[in-house]
């Protein structure tokens, strides 16, 4: 059977087009189903409260809930304050985490100290203590040092939360850099800082981006410490969302709108950098 194709075939030998298409459709089905809860929430956020409660669409779509939720009313926290707080806390803590993690990863990967395995294990083991257990001593000290309700205390805590993971991941990405490149730089007399900048970082960049993104995700979404250690003025986005859970009745649409607003930054960041994150993960998350 000779068929003249001008563009070249993508099917493998013996692959039926229907099978390949079928797999593609299955993937689409799975993806759409998986995202359904989120899609439904987005849909709900554009409804009026009556429609939302009754699962109908009599009154059409509106942006009103979004504006409702963005303006402070008594009893709920202000969006602007919460957003700024979250932004500051997340950015500062992530930057500091990366600044601390890079040299640590260098020490563990490129010029390994003797007990590197133990050090790594130690780092991970700090995550075994449930957050809830350490809250009380932390609260006591935070109160003592007047840090309750400030951004500082959250920054400090988030750094501690994310640092182990950051060190672990950054180290494994550094290990991906071929030894010969570093040795060549050494021979050329490159200083440590320049080595980092011109040889190591370009190769490990996707991995470092992935690590930073993960830190941002965890810091932005963190709920417990923020809840326990804050007053209204210091609250972050997760608290802002739950503040919209009103006991006076189910304001589903408003809550949906609030949820979407709160999650949007991280979701967009995740979407934008996912290619890099996957490349980063496939480079060295294994080790």
């Amino acid at each position: 059977m000779t068929v003249r194709k001008r563009r070249g075939t993508r099917l493998g030998v013996g692959e039926r087009r229907t099978f390949v298409a079928g797999v593609g459709m299955l993937a689409w089905l799975v993806g759409l189903l998986w995202i359904f809860p989120v899609a439904w929430t987005v849909f709900t956020s554009f409804k009026t409260e009556q429609d939302a409660a009754a699962q109908t669409l009599h009154q059409g779509l509106t942006l009103a809930r979004y504006s409702d939720v963005s303006h402070s009313t008594t009893g709920t926290l202000s969006l602007q304050t919460a957003f700024t707080n979250s932004l500051v806390v997340v950015i500062v803590s992530t930057v500091i985490v990366m600044l601390l993690a890079l040299p640590a990863a260098y020490a563990l990967a490129i010029r390994p100290i003797h007990k590197w395995r133990d050090v790594l294990f130690f780092f991970i083991s700090t995550k075994f203590l449930p957050v809830v257990a350490s809250i009380f001593p932390i609260y006591v000290y935070a109160e003592k040092w007047n840090l309750i309700g400030t951004r500082t205390v959250l920054i400090i805590l988030y750094i501690a939360i994310n640092l182990p993971l950051a060190v672990w991941m950054t180290r494994s990405f550094f290990m991906e850099v071929p030894r010969e490149l570093i040795e060549a730089a050494e021979i050329d007399g490159t200083s440590l800082l320049n080595q980092l900048r011109s040889v190591i970082l370009p190769i490990a960049a996707p991995g470092i981006a992935a690590t930073a993104l993960l830190c941002v995700i965890f810091a932005w979404n963190e709920y417990f410490y923020a809840l326990q250690l804050n007053f209204a003025s210091g609250s972050t986005m997760p608290q802002w969302v739950t503040s919209n859970v009103s006991t006076r009745g189910n304001f589903l649409a408003k809550l949906s709108a609030a949820s979407i607003i709160a999650c949007l930054p991280v979701v967009l960041a995740g979407w934008a950098t996912q290619k890099r994150m996957i490349r980063g993960l496939s480079m060295g998350a294994l080790k």
Binding site: V20, V23, A27, W28, V30, G31, L32, W34, I35, P37, V38, W40, T41, A52, A53, L100, A101, P103, A104, Y106, I113, V119, F123, I124, S125, T126, K127, F128, L129, P130, V132, A133, S134, I135, F136, P137, I159, A160, L163, P164, M175, I217, W220, N221, Y223, M237, P238, T242, V245, N250, L252, S259, C263, V267, G270, W271, L281, S282, L286, K287
Partner: protein, 284 residues
Amino acid sequence: MLPALLYVVAITQLPFLVSIYYSLTNLKDKTQSLTPEPTKFVGFQNYRQIFSDPFFREAMWTSVKMTVLAVLLSLIIGTAFALLLDRKFFGQGIIRTLLITPFLLMPVVAALIWKQQMFSSLFGVLNKALNFLGLNSIAFISDHPLASIVTVLVWQWTPFMMLIILAGLQSQPSDILEAANVDGASGVGIFRQLTLPHLRPYLELGALLGSIFIVQAFDAIDVMTGGGPGSTNVPYFVYQESIGGGFRYGSASAYAIVVVIFSIVIATFALRLLSSLFKDEERG
């Protein structure tokens, strides 16, 4: 690298040590608890109580169930998704983006979404669908608290596992798969004999990291069930004991310490398994 080390030590170990100290006392918040006592050192009394406390045992058991179920399910489903996404098809990038999204959401939001939009007896989509098919509504959260929480956890963590496994799939050299093809192996055969062994370190990594995070699950429980029977895991239990209402900080700390020791023991075993990873690394 010293700064990082010092910092982590300070921030994480101090509370740890202080918790140990507290666990050895009968610390109670005098203003809140019903039976105020002056704080005094009571030695290992708190620890002895632990093992006879049925609530704690139940919390431990729930933790185990919850963690194992969530980790296993998200691993299996994550692997299935990774296999699906491993070949090129129209819109592959879009689907991958959609699948990742639950992981990016705030745990409280995820829990809220499922609680109100999906599971709710009054408004929930699932129940609406069931009714539409002529079946009775199911009160998911009140009747099946553990399953509901596990569902949310799996929904959020499957993308994480999927990404790790996807990385593993893509790191398998293609000429080995071609050789297996030429040698007569079927698709299933190739997966079972070659791909799965290749994925083992990735699966282990996913399980390890996933367990570390999932065992600490808190937000979903707080939002969905408030710690009702059958859905309280250890972190939530400790929370209830301490600032969540019990204010028995001493015993709460004791519980926590026990859990940490437990985790360290388990993790050491797990890392022995993973040490083969390290061994390969040292060679290469």
